[in-house]
Symmetry: C2
Subunit: 191 residues, 2 copies
DNA sequence: GGACACATGTAACAAGTTACATGATTGG
DNA sequence: CCAATCATGTAACTTGTTACATGTGTCC
């Protein structure tokens, strides 16, 4: 799976299961998500395989924290996964499937309403990613000067932004078609 | 899950497990994929729930075929799923995660090679989808006249095309940055 | 007779979700 | 004392993958 490898990447800086869970609920959710109930046992298994170190630390507030960090062996595994070529094969894009079958509802109003909901969610996500991009640029300046991790982190962010803009362009195109269809079917009483 | 609902949509026209598997390996793989070993037991469970009818037919070539078709109950379930709003939450985009951690390799050449592989795969997919779009237009004419299923099928196809173009735009942007970085690090001996 | 496409499955395992259990500390 | 946040987990279940088993009919 990839969760193992994503955690290997994230845990190059030490962190706890709880903190990782919050990262997945915030920034990282734009390309991956995992529940705490999946994260905890996964961390344990990875430690057993020798990919992670672990120790305990007192919390400022609440019970003691179990901190994990990627080992040298873990980093080797991460590099193998990265070199293993792009892992593209099997995206599951449920919203395309849903669009595909939307004709079943036999109602342009319902289709419109669903596409408008998609647009609202994606606009919200895009706003967040664009905000993150501005913050990064304020902190680190012109992206053309980034090196190493900075460059690749920024590239990942840009991918998120490109994809969301494409989704929104599709929404505009599709809403226009659906609205035209609806007008043809039900001409305005005043018109 | 969504596989149930995707099969409900596909099986409004009768088909067999084997044929559905081929559809997932061809066109449908652009937004979903399922193995035969997942499809067969899923069909059986769906029939047990009353969502599918099934009967046997002789094959032209090879053993007898087990044909399935969505029942009225199945269509009701499909409509419920469609109306249940867009199912967006949890895309898993492993390639963005991979990009994010690519700095670990500490090699612009390796990053370039991976992004070029992504570009090659996506160009190939885009070529296929654009070909499908041309075929659809030849058969059915100007998309602005499509109604019902035709309109929604075309919208799903357009989404695939928009997404792939966004990915390729990102590749161009990212390759340019990586190449600049590489030139700065290793100025040409002749320059 | 061998390769290939047709056709359907099972078994074992890995990954992911939902629901539940437990308890500490802080702020109102 | 109550709610919220911090913090770690288990159990039962669903979903998805990999590997294997079995057999038919056609073309070369």
């Amino acid at each position: 799976m990839s969760l193992n490898h994503i955690l290997l990447g994230m845990l190059r800086e030490p962190s706890t299961g709880y903190e990782l869970g919050k990262e997945f609920s915030e920034g990282a959710q734009h390309f991956w998500f995992a529940e705490l109930s999946q994260i905890y046992p996964t961390l344990k298994r990875m430690r057993d395989r020798g990919w992670l170190d672990t120790w305990e630390e007192p919390s400022e507030r609440g019970p003691k924290r179990k901190v994990y960090k990627t080992t040298a062996e873990g980093r080797a595994e991460l590099r193998t996964w990265l070199r293993d070529g792009p892992h593209l094969g099997r995206e599951r894009l449920g919203f395309i499937a849903q669009t595909f079958f939307l004709g079943e509802l036999e109602s342009y109003e319902e289709s419109l309403s669903i596409v408008r909901k998609m647009r609202a969610m994606w606009e919200h996500k895009l706003g967040y990613l664009e905000h993150v991009e501005r913050m990064v640029e304020e902190d680190h300046g012109d992206p053309s000067h980034y090196g190493g991790d900075g460059l690749h982190n920024h590239a990942a962010l840009r991918m998120g932004i490109h994809m969301l803009r494409a989704k929104l362009a599709w929404c505009a195109e599709t809403l226009e078609r659906l609205e035209t269809r609806l007008e043809l079917a039900e001409p305005t009483p005043a018109g």
